[in-house]
């Protein structure tokens, strides 16, 4: 166990799984870097350095730089997964899914079903998401609700370094296509991470705080905001349960329904665009299956219905931050507090 960043945790998971299983290969644009160039090789290790050091260790046959052809190489990862390899492909920013989604949602996700069960497609797609980087509308989206919508895909949203390592190892060992979402604003976040490999099972939520007054269900980076709010409010006599579902597909509906029922007051926090997102998904689930336990309207805290703006002055307003979460919790617990 030692302190590692989210970036290091991901790198370590990749390294350990590549050591364990020769069939694990990784590919993506500049995940090593310098290919064909006269200068430094492994020059980048991915645009934010997440895969740095893997090419020198495993060689270019297992760490494949690609041309800028997401349909081509993500489709290749899918095809390779269906024929014996266990590829981890990097879709640099999830915002780029629009040029290659077919290979993910119509091919990888559906092979098993369309082929009557006779396909196994253990492909992982690692991808960056989220706002806060001043990266503007086409490099800041969440989009995991879209992947969650598709049967046949699994979707992991690690909220800290520990989750990142364990969920990525599970993603690689899992026999289904997994989309692994890395929040770009968390790469430098530190946390305790065991040195040995470990897998966190999918569909098992993590209850990060326990409380009586309200239940906050939050996703990805938002879990950290929710924890902060819970800690702050607990000093003010409002105690909150915080649930990190860890994966949106499968979703741990049991824990969500139980913790919602316990307090009867629910806030769902989702950084994604507000329509047909995880906030609505979870709120609807509760309104259907834990309705009788609810003591107050469910509150959703999400980004507004607009593209992500560039200007820091606007982007800071765009992100569903701790203030908005706190206000929502205060609203559901009501005057009493």
């Amino acid at each position: 166990m030692s302190k590692k960043t989210y970036r290091q945790a991901i790198n370590e998971a990749l390294r350990q799984e590549m050591e364990r299983d020769e069939r694990v290969i990784i590919m993506g644009e500049d995940i090593a870097g310098g290919l064909g160039s006269p200068g430094e090789q492994d020059a980048w290790g991915g645009p934010l350095g997440v895969t740095k050091g893997l090419m020198p260790k495993f060689g270019r046959d297992r760490v494949l730089d690609t041309p800028i052809t997401e349909s081509g190489f993500i489709g290749a990862a899918v095809g390779a997964a269906a024929t014996g390899l266990r590829p981890v492909a990097e879709l640099m920013f999830v915002d780029f899914f629009g040029v290659c989604f077919d290979q993910i949602f119509n091919q990888a996700a559906k092979f098993k079903y369309m082929f009557g069960g006779k396909a196994v497609t253990p492909v992982v797609i690692r991808t960056m998401y989220g706002a806060g980087f001043r990266a503007a509308s086409q490099h800041s989206q969440c989009l995991y609700p879209v992947f969650t919508h598709i049967p046949g895909l699994k979707v992991a949203l690690p909220s800290n370094p520990y989750e990142a390592k364990g969920l990525l190892i599970q993603s690689i060992r899992d026999d289904d296509p997994v989309i692994f979402f890395e929040h770009k604003a968390m790469y430098d976040l530190e946390g305790e991470v065991p040195d040995e490999p470990y897998a966190i099972p999918f569909g098992e939520a993590n209850v990060t705080r326990e409380g009586d007054d309200a239940t906050i269900i939050a996703f990805g980076r938002m879990v950290n905001f929710a924890n902060d709010v819970a800690d702050k409010l607990s000093k003010q006599g409002i105690s909150c349960t915080v649930v990190d579902p860890r994966t949106t597909s499968p979703l741990d509906t049991e824990t969500i329904l139980e913790t919602a029922a316990e307090t009867g007051r629910v806030v769902v926090v989702d950084e994604a665009h507000p329509r047909c997102n995880m906030a609505t998904d979870v709120a609807a689930l509760i309104a259907q299956d834990a309705f009788d336990k609810l003591k107050a309207p469910i509150k959703m805290v999400t980004a507004p219905h607009c593209p992500v703006p560039f200007s820091p002055a606007l982007e800071d307003l765009y992100i569903p931050g701790p203030d908005k979460i706190e206000a929502a919790v205060r609203a559901v617990v009501g005057k009493a507090h």
Partner: protein, 322 residues
């Protein structure tokens, strides 16, 4: 000529089986016994068989929406295929895929594909597996003339070349994408496009099994030997409409009939091998009869077979726990 007598019999048997299969599906569809979108391969048999004759279990192919021929050529079970097209539980895909998704990965057949241009990236992956796992395998993407314009196809050319993959892109140019002529939709030429990506690229007459077989041999040997990808442009003709139900009024009235009379690949094969004294007509007649009987039996059994039921609806979505 490096085709043995057995090879020749096998080639003819496969082509005839495809033809009978497609004719039967056409009849059954017309009679209202088969639902959905069904695209038939009749007329193009020499392409699938000319390539797949060189392949074995190490090798993979990806097909198009017009996939029955590639399936049979790659060794899929025609009975299970027929069941599949009828939507039956014991179909090749449990009735879940149907004509447009017919597949058998255990045979290296990575699927018909409902997405035009869906196959080429997958084939880069299969070729990458072969290269990485050093199986000696190659991978072939069959692509229509229409599919040759899809961005995924071009990306795959480039990827296969820069990764030096054992991949082959076979453009089956039957002259039309739905109603639209390839003489209009394809700017430049297939061969020049292939060369633009630094790949060896040739055109071949898809009515001539032997010509196809020969260019296939070259491309596949090159790929197996580490020489990288190639492109082959096969000119051919589809005999039925784009999908079942299409009257193909956009074609010249006598276009198909004239081709059938003068260039049918099975007819030309028969002519060639009998004239050269390689096979006699009786052996071929026997194959014709067997194929017909076999397909009739497949249809009869498929019709009688049970449908999937409610408990099949939610299986096969995931492999690991969900």
């Amino acid at each position: 000529m490096q085709l043995s007598r057995d090879d020749l019999l096998q080639a003819y048997r496969r082509m005839r089986l495809i033809r009978e299969f497609e004719d039967a599906v056409h009849d059954e569809f017309s009679a209202g016994n088969i639902p959905g979108f069904v695209h038939l391969y009749a007329g193009e048999e020499a392409s699938a068989v000319g390539f797949c004759m060189h392949l074995d279990e190490r090798d993979a192919i990806a097909s198009t929406h017009r996939g029955h021929g590639h399936c049979i050529a790659k060794g899929c079970d025609e009975r299970a295929m027929m069941f599949e097209i009828f939507g039956k539980k014991d179909g090749l895909c449990g009735g879940k895929g149907g004509s447009m998704h017919i597949a058998d990965l255990s045979k290296g057949m990575m699927g018909a594909n409902g997405i035009v241009g869906g196959g080429p990236p997958l084939i880069c992956g299969a070729a990458l597996s072969a290269k990485t796992l050093k199986t000696g395998g190659v991978a072939i993407a069959f692509v229509g003339d229409g599919g040759s314009n899809q961005g995924t196809t071009f990306e795959s050319y480039n990827l296969a070349k820069v990764w030096n993959l054992p991949a082959i892109f076979v453009i089956e140019d039957n002259g039309y994408a739905e109603t639209t002529s390839s003489s209009w939709s394809v700017a430049g030429s297939q061969v020049d496009r292939g060369k633009g990506f630094g790949m060896p690229a040739v055109q071949v007459d898809g009515s001539d099994f032997f010509a196809v077989w020969e260019v296939a041999r070259e491309a596949i040997e090159r790929a197996r030997g580490g020489g990288g990808p190639s492109l082959v442009h096969v000119k051919c003709m589809r005999y039925y409409g784009h999908f079942e139900g299409d009257a193909a009024t956009y074609k010249a009235p006598d276009e198909v009939a004239r081709y059938k009379a003068t260039k049918d690949p099975l007819m030309l094969f028969r002519q060639r091998v009998t004239e050269a004294g390689l096979l006699d007509g009786q052996a071929l007649d026997a194959i014709d009869r067997e194929a017909k009987a076999r397909i009739e039996q497949c249809v009869a059994e498929a019709k009688a077979a049970p449908l999937p039921t409610e408990k099949d609806l939610l299986t096969d979505v995931y492999t690991s726990p969900y």
